[in-house]
């Protein structure tokens, strides 16, 4: 806990409190959105009066903080790799009598099959190793898993653990189903 990183964090936390916790009676938003954003992206620096207005208004500083963090998050998102879909095959080894799981070729998605009495549950799991994992967990896009015949096996959004669980929708058990429909599957983002 005594690394330099934490010392910096402690210092920044205290200075943040000093800026934001000051009691300023009648405080209000002093600068418009456009003014704050232009100052943040460097296209139009604040004038001295605007600078003073910002520094003396905890409320305006809090809006500045909100915009600054939002901007950083958006910048982060622009740098995250984009994912357009992954596909996988039913392997010889996984064609045993009871199919337990299938993996996409890129190794980032697993379909798990859990027997539940006569029925099956199917769980889609995103590997934390996937380069696009952070983006998908943040944006939570609608996802779809289709079989080799194009039928939808599962549709939904990942939960915070990167999983999506549904009831297996077909009459036939997973192993014979895949053998009948092209022995393949794909995970895709759903364009809404």
């Amino acid at each position: 806990m005594s690394t330099d990183h934490n010392k910096d964090a402690l210092e920044a936390r205290l200075q943040e409190r000093l800026l934001l916790s000051r009691a300023v009676p009648g405080d209000r938003l002093m600068l418009a959105e456009a003014t704050l954003l232009a100052a943040l992206d460097g296209s139009r620096p604040l004038t001295p009066n605007e600078r003073t207005a910002l520094q003396q208004s905890p409320l305006t500083l809090r809006r500045f903080r909100h915009l600054a963090l939002e901007r950083r998050e958006a910048g982060q998102a622009a740098n995250d790799p984009v994912w357009a879909g992954s596909a996988g095959m039913l392997r010889a080894a996984s064609s045993a009598a009871v199919l337990e799981q299938m993996l996409t070729d890129d190794g980032y998605w697993t379909l798990h099959f859990l027997p539940e009495g006569e029925e099956w549950q199917v769980i889609l799991t995103l590997s934390a190793e996937a380069p696009f994992a952070a983006r998908l967990l943040r944006e939570q896009p609608m996802l779809r898993v289709v079989d080799g015949g194009g039928a939808i096996i599962l549709q939904g959004r990942l939960d915070a653990d990167g999983e999506c669980e549904r009831a297996w929708p077909f009459e036939m058990a997973p192993a014979p189903h895949f053998q009948m429909y092209g022995a393949s599957f794909a995970v895709e983002p759903v364009a809404l």
Binding site: A23, P25, A68
Partner: protein, 450 residues
Amino acid sequence: MRLPGTRYQEHGWEQVRKLLGHCSLQAFRQIELRHAPEPEQHTLLLDAYTEAVAASLRAHQRTSRAEAPGNSYGDSVSELALSLLFELQAQPAFWQAFMEVMAAEYARSGEFWRDPAADGILRKKVNDMFVGLRDKVDADNYIVATGRDCSPNKIYTYRMLDTAYGEIARLFAAWEQHVEQVGAILGRELAGLPIEVRQMKSIGGCKAEWIIRWSESLERFEGSPGPLHTRSKRFASLKNSPEKISAMLAEIGDYEELSSNMDRGEDSLGEAALWMEDYWRVIGESEQQEAAPDVVDQILQAQEDAFAADQSDGDDAESEPGRRGAASGEEPGPHLEALPSAAQLAREQDAAVALSLSPRYLELARTAQDAGSWTLRVLREESLPIRLAVYHKLLGPADDSYPHAWLDPATGELPTLQQLAALDGISMPTMRKRRNEAIDKLYAADRAAS
């Protein structure tokens, strides 16, 4: 009701209010309320009140009321009560108003807070303070989250509409028992199940004219006038502005839908450092630009609102034209404190042991300070316990950024203010006074830097 940024507007508020009332009554028996008529005592009284209520809230932390959800973002009732309590520090006008009320009552009936029969009156006064404060804090939260203007009055109006919607939904659900009233709301006679009853699934589907007609007919059906039609006229102008009502209903509805499966992101440890970096950069770029005189200031004008607080800002004219500390290279090098003498160490150890802290607590805590930090430079005259008390007040007893050596292993938090006072060999009032003076120094240095 949920709106962007707001935290205190959901059903859990009733419990937050009661918990704050209960803990305040306990606090009033511990603090020197008879100083309420002396304005120069208000800050110290607020400190003592905040500490006493915070301690009482912590003691109640495990009760079912305290653990109940206070809103749908995962804040419990006791967390909300505690955070609202600390908002008083940043909004002292509410405390001052409360002190004035207390002073007036004291002048009339003496130390009435010692009389259990006065509990009801006290509770009511505390309640008034926090009710006003929560709308002020949430109006500010809304502005921060959206960049749009807001006021406590506007929050109050949103809530009135939300409650009105709830009443209408209740009547719709039992329309067979309220055929006439539902007919009055819809503006027509009912012939069988009205389709509107099935179509209104959320506040976003509630029509402004239903709200207006509900309010208008309320006196006829329930005996007291509706909020748009009371004599107080508070919402009177709204009944002629259905488009305004529609927009507000739609906003509540849209946001409820949007936020229904959203967790509030907790502040992460590094967040302060991230935006402070942007802050110093923006300030620096602005300072370098000083020479360009032809840029017109874009400063927003104050909006008209009934809640117009005192406009005097706390800025004194002779703030020094200094440079900011942390990011500037012109500052003197790390300031090293004089090492404590053997006698001082021995004294410190005795004090620490008496408090069940490790004998070397102060020695280790001293080593764990960041010698080069801006904070330490500004507070180099203060003792270590005073500096720790500053952190205690500004960041709370527990913060992820605290070095281990500062924490009491028994609690995992900074020592309490009482312990810090004992470590420093001073009384609690002296501790509070010196701590507040140290915080003022930080504010002054921070302002001089700007």
